[in-house]
Structure formats: structure tokens, C-alpha cells
């Protein structure tokens, strides 16, 4: 599809126009912490940031999701949740986070469809924003991605100075763009500028993870000593799992107040000791070693075996936020070096 441009000073107008048909989620500042939230006014949008603290998976796969409500009594009543067809836009999503949706789609759409995620996914248009200042721990280029990669978004905006270079990836993106007439065709000069931004951003990514052969190597070192060593400092806190854009584990609970209740789904973390605790008391993963190892294997061995893709997008949040500096790039380096 044709590449377009949008003058920077028209961005507010663009947002205001699409707000008439779409609910807009965009990066906002909360006491300095960048989070994707619903905005009412385009002035709430922050564009000068590296990445949000909590990944935008929280918009499609909500942390607390009500599955259905019920009323107890002689005859229990269950009231289904009505799935709305209202359309949303996630504006300013980074290419790595957008890739995480493509990875999560396997979990929620293959076999049986999870309506809570899938309805939102279908009704959400992703307008990505290319990274011009990758963070210290970003390594999307090692994970089949890139800071200016349009593959997983519907529309990609890249800042090329006075304008945004706009790439439309699919019909969904085209439908949105067609509603607004603020765009002009991109010139060869514009395309050159985008390429320059792409090269500069890629060049600014200093860390990389060598993923070749990791899945096969992991098959051989399950009982290796390195897992004990790595997990000694793990606090089982769960920050890595909550901040990870591809982590999808959840818990289901019934919550009641007297007779009114709801069955809810909440994020859970495999780092929790009781995550796999059987009612009999048996726990397949009683030690931190088991759980840390399981997390690495899930991302780099089990998920690729089931869906042919590594469940990591290289956003670096787990490295940034781990209180004891457990570094996934360092772990994979050790995996590659250790003797099978």
C-alpha cells in the first residue's frame, strides 16, 4: 500500500477526528511513569518516551477481566458479559509490543477462541510509533523485529522531522486512514529520511541476543547446574512476568459479596511458589530453580516447539525492572556457552 505523510502540527487534528469513531489508548504520563491509558484529550499523549512500564498487552488482555456475573439463590442466575463491538485504537505502540500481540494470538485464538481477548483484538487498530531512541536493554533486532518494523501494526508512524512518515500495512489500517483527509503522498525524499531513521535506530541498539540453536541447546541442558546458579538470586517476585508483553498466565477466581458475584480472570505469575501446587500437596516446581528454569524454557523452548516462534520480543522490560539484575540476555549467553 502507498506510503503517506502527516505534518506533525496536524497530529492533534488527526486524533480528534478519529476519536469520533474510535476509543483512543495512548501513552500517558502518570507521575513520570509512562502507561497506555484511554485518553479524552490529545494533549494527554506523550510521544517523547522509550517505552511504557506496563506493556500494552494490558489493554487487550486486561489484568482483571470479568468473565461472567452470577447471583446465587434457590435458582442461580448467570448473566453473560456483553461483548461490545466498539472500535479502539492503540496509538503510539512500539513495534516490539505490537509483535507481542502476534505472538499472544496463538494462545488465545488457536484451538478454542478466547472471546475476551479476541473481540478486543479484532476491534482494535494498532497505530505504531517507530523508536528513535532505543533503550539500553532493547534487543528487538535479535528477535526478528526492528525499531521501525511495520509488520505487526496496522499503521506505522515514523518521525522524520517536520512530518510523520506513515506506512499502511493492511486493510484495517487503510480503513482508518481513509476516514481522515490530512495525509499526503510520501515523496522519495520522505522515504529516504525514513530509511535514515531506521538505520540510526538500529545502530543505537547495542545489545543483542544470539538465538540461533538456543531451542536445541536447551533440550540438552535441562538438568545442568547453571539453573541452580542463576536462580539463587531470584526473589520469585513476578515483576518480569507482569512486565513481559508475551506472558499470558492467568488465574480464575469466583468473587462474591453475599449473593452477587463474578468469575474473574486475573494475571498470575509462574514465579509464585503456589502456581503449580496440587491440592494433594505435591508441587512439581517447589524450588525457585524449577520456576526460573521453566520461565526460560517456556519462552525459548516450549513456545517455539508449539508455535514456531520465540515468545520474546526484545523489549528489555524484564532486564530494566528486575531488582536483582537477572538478565535474560546474560542467561541465553550462558546457555550457549555451557557444555551440553
Amino acid at each position: 500500500m502507498e506510503d503517506l505523510t502527516l505534518p506533525k502540527n496536524k497530529l492533534t487534528e488527526f486524533i480528534k477526528k478519529i476519536q469520533l469513531d474510535y476509543t483512543i489508548f495512548a501513552p500517558t504520563s502518570n507521575d513520570g511513569i509512562i502507561l497506555y491509558k484511554q485518553i479524552k484529550n490529545p494533549s494527554e499523549i506523550i510521544l517523547d518516551f522509550c517505552n511504557s512500564r506496563v506493556p500494552p498487552k494490558s489493554l487487550l488482555f486486561k489484568q482483571t477481566e470479568t468473565m461472567f456475573r452470577f447471583k446465587l439463590g434457590v435458582k442461580a442466575e448467570i448473566s453473560q458479559i456483553e461483548f461490545s463491538n466498539s472500535k479502539s485504537v492503540i496509538f503510539g505502540i512500539r513495534p516490539c509490543d505490537a509483535k507481542s500481540f502476534s505472538i499472544l494470538d496463538h494462545v488465545f485464538e488457536d484451538d478454542s477462541i478466547d472471546p475476551y481477548y479476541v473481540t478486543k483484538r479484532k476491534n482494535t487498530t494498532l497505530i505504531g510509533l517507530s523508536c528513535t531512541q532505543p533503550g539500553v536493554n532493547c534487543f528487538c533486532t535479535s528477535m526478528d523485529g526492528g525499531p521501525t518494523n511495520p509488520d505487526d501494526v496496522d499503521i506505522l508512524f515514523t518521525n522524520i522531522g517536520e512530518k510523520y512518515f506513515v506506512e499502511i500495512n493492511n486493510e484495517k489500517g487503510k480503513n482508518l486512514i481513509n476516514k481522515v483527509s490530512l495525509f499526503s503522498k510520501a515523496t522519495t525524499d520522505d522515504k529516504k529520511k525514513k530509511q535514515q531513521v531506521e538505520e540510526k535506530s538500529k545502530g543505537a541498539i547495542t545489545r543483542n541476543m544470539k538465538t540461533k540453536g538456543v531451542k536445541e541447546k536447551l533440550d540438552k541442558i535441562f538438568e545442568n547446574e547453571i539453573w541452580k546458579k542463576i536462580s539463587l538470586k531470584c526473589l520469585s517476585c513476578g515483576i518480569c512476568t507482569y512486565q513481559c508483553p508475551t506472558c499470558h498466565c492467568f488465574d480464575i477466581q469466583d468473587e462474591l459479596t453475599l449473593t452477587n458475584g463474578a468469575r474473574i480472570r486475573v494475571w498470575d505469575t509462574c514465579m509464585n511458589p503456589e502456581y503449580t501446587l496440587h491440592a494433594s500437596g505435591h508441587n512439581p516446581r517447589p524450588a525457585r530453580m524449577n520456576r526460573t528454569r521453566n520461565r526460560v524454557y517456556h519462552k525459548f523452548n516450549y513456545y517455539p516447539k508449539n508455535y514456531s516462534v520465540i515468545a520474546c520480543v526484545g523489549c528489555g522490560r524484564c532486564i530494566n525492572d528486575c531488582p536483582v539484575n537477572i538478565d535474560i540476555i546474560d542467561i541465553i549467553d550462558q546457555v550457549k556457552e555451557v557444555k551440553a
Binding site: 478454542s112 499470558h248 492467568f250 488465574d251 512439581p284
Partner: protein, 248 residues
Amino acid sequence: MFQDDKIKNDFSYLPGQCVMVSHLGFGECFFAVSSSPTKKEYIEVSVMRLGKVTKALHECEEGDVLGVRGPYGNNFDVKGWMGKNLVFIGGGIGQAPLRSLINYVVDNRKKYDKLDVIYGARSTKDLCFKPEFEKLEKRKDVNVHLSIDKKEKGWSKFVGFVPDNLLKVKPSPKNTAAITCGPPVMIKFVIQNLLKLGFSADQIFTTLEMRMKCGIGKCGRCNIGNLYVCKDGPVFSYDQLKNLIGEM
């Protein structure tokens, strides 16, 4: 029993499959259906009273309404085993999923060859489905071998662990499938002993359990390596398990 007749007629399952039973306000639990699909009027699950939901289930009375969703998971290869000898090795409450299979096979007795049922528990108090075993023992076309772990007054049958009883019964591996279920430690030793007796990995089957929440392979909890016990199991052959990396 299903409230809706249409659902009752549509609900079909094979031994080994499981259902999620909901007690609204308390939660859900994943149970293997312990009744055979040859009984069409109802489905049965065997519930051990351990935690919040199972305690509430035990306190239910006749006529109370529960939620059921399923059937989930894969089933025992009842069609593929037709014409074969079958050995069932159960321990304690692990007999529940095997009961569905044993009753199905017994209801279709002519389609299967020799049947051996080996079952044991810690004590006579822990033996499950006692009235059914008494009926089964009276049948001439089924060999029943019961055991308890420790000596008890009045018990004249085998005393010892189930894997040891298995060695005593010494089933032949020729044209036989062995199916086992019980505590993880028992399964481990039963498989060891079956291999000793000459069974090959693809002749040994088991059904596993895990902590479950969604039952459909999405919440990520019940995995053994890259397989989910709720979706790719709970029935596994030892052939699948022996090369699987992961914790059980």
C-alpha cells in the same frame, strides 16, 4: 445429570476425558469423568474433600445445581485396544479415571481379550469403589488383584505397594496395553516395573493430573514441557513422556 435434555443427548465423551465442575461462588475444579459413557443418563465425578471447592462440593445435597463444562482433554484409545489384553494398575484415588475405562471395557467385554485389574491403597479405609470391586471380583472374565500397603486384620490378599503387586501378578506384555494412574511416585515405579516385565514404552499409558484453572490450554499452568495436561493430555503414553523435558 444434565438439566437440559438436548445437552444430555449431545454430550458425548470417551473414558479418560475430563470436565470442569463449577460451584458458583466457590470456584471450579477439573475432574476426570469416572463413569463410563455406556451409562447415558448421568455422568459421575469422584471428588476428594481437600480444599475450598471440594469441601463445598461434598456439602452439596441432591438437587443442587452445579456447572459443568467439557469434555476436555484426550481419551484412552478404547478403539485401538480392541482385541488386546488390558492391565489396569490403579492406586488410591487415582482409580477414578480408570473406573470410567474399566467400566467401559467391561460393558463391551467381548471386544477385549484378557483383563487384569490391579488396585491398591494405603489401607482398607482408603480403598475406593469397594462395592464395585466386589462385583468385579465375582466375574469370571476379569482378574482382580487388590492390595493394601500395611498389614490389617482380616485382609487375606496381597500386602505391599502396588508396583510390587504388579511384579507378583506378572502380566505378559504380548499384545497387551498397560494403563496406570495414581500418585506421581507410584506411577514412576509402576512404569519402571512394567519396563522390567518387558513392556515397551508405547504399550504403557497413564493419566496425569496438574493444578488447573482454564482447562483449555490458555492459562499456562498445567504444562509439562511444551505439552499441556488439560489439552494434550491427560492421557499420555510413556513413549511421549520419556523424552519430554519438564517437571511432573
